[in-house]
Symmetry: C2
Subunit: 141 residues, 2 copies
């Protein structure tokens, strides 16, 4: 009987859990969790996003986005602005504090991935990243 470790899908599942845990412990002191961090990082790339866009791109349920943006607003890292053309929507934008937080934690964030990929040489990490990106495909990530 072949062992479970022989299954690439299960390896991905296991390492995904470990990676998420590492990220969360890294974010623990800031009061945020990985989900908040993902939203912040996404907002930093697009200069304002609708909540439904956050939901679609990050893969979280729309109802989850509500709470995440609430938390980020409470911390002063993001804020909701009314959408000019559609009064149903609200545009979430990064505040200066939020941008500063990303700058301050960027280095520590890289260390998390470094720690996870310790067993691999730089070239191997590059290969792994390329393959994972291919698997992630066009969709979110």
């Amino acid at each position: 009987m072949r062992t479970l470790h022989a299954d690439t899908g299960y390896l991905l599942y296991r390492l995904g859990l470990r990676s998420g845990q590492l990220f969360n412990t890294f974010l623990q002191e800031s009061g945020l969790r990985l989900r908040h961090y993902a939203v912040l990082r996404y907002l930093a790339t697009c200069e304002g996003a609708l909540q439904r866009e956050l939901s679609a791109r990050l893969g979280y349920d729309p109802s989850a986005i509500v709470g995440l943006v609430d938390d980020l607003e409470k911390l002063g890292f993001a804020e909701r602005r009314p959408a000019p053309d559609d009064r149903r929507s609200r545009i979430v934008v990064l505040t200066e504090d939020g941008r500063a937080f990303l700058r301050d934690t960027d280095q520590a964030g890289r260390r998390v991935t470094d720690e996870l990929l310790t067993p691999l040489a730089p070239a191997e990490r590059e290969t792994l990243h390329t393959l994972l990106a291919r698997v992630a495909g066009n969709g979110l990530a």
Copy 2:
């Protein structure tokens, strides 16, 4: 600002979630979940295991193992036997039904990983698996 997809750790986290979801939908009709399947597959390799061993090797909390083995016993896929040398421990063994279940679902299980790795050529899948196994390291997986 670099995008979130540029982070290998986050990619792993995301793909881990997707892989787990794929496995769970594949197992949905059988009433099991990925955690149960992991226990079954492990039991198939060792011909009987203590619950603390399952906890350590699969990375689940000991309290979680209790419920998982309960479910597997209820389905007739595994059973607890008293350990001869230590009356505290109980040895969990696969039943014939459990072994048959693994045989019947083996092919479908492979399809799950195949579906996940669709974008990759066979040689690339091999490379990915090797790298992931290296990252997983000596410990569990």
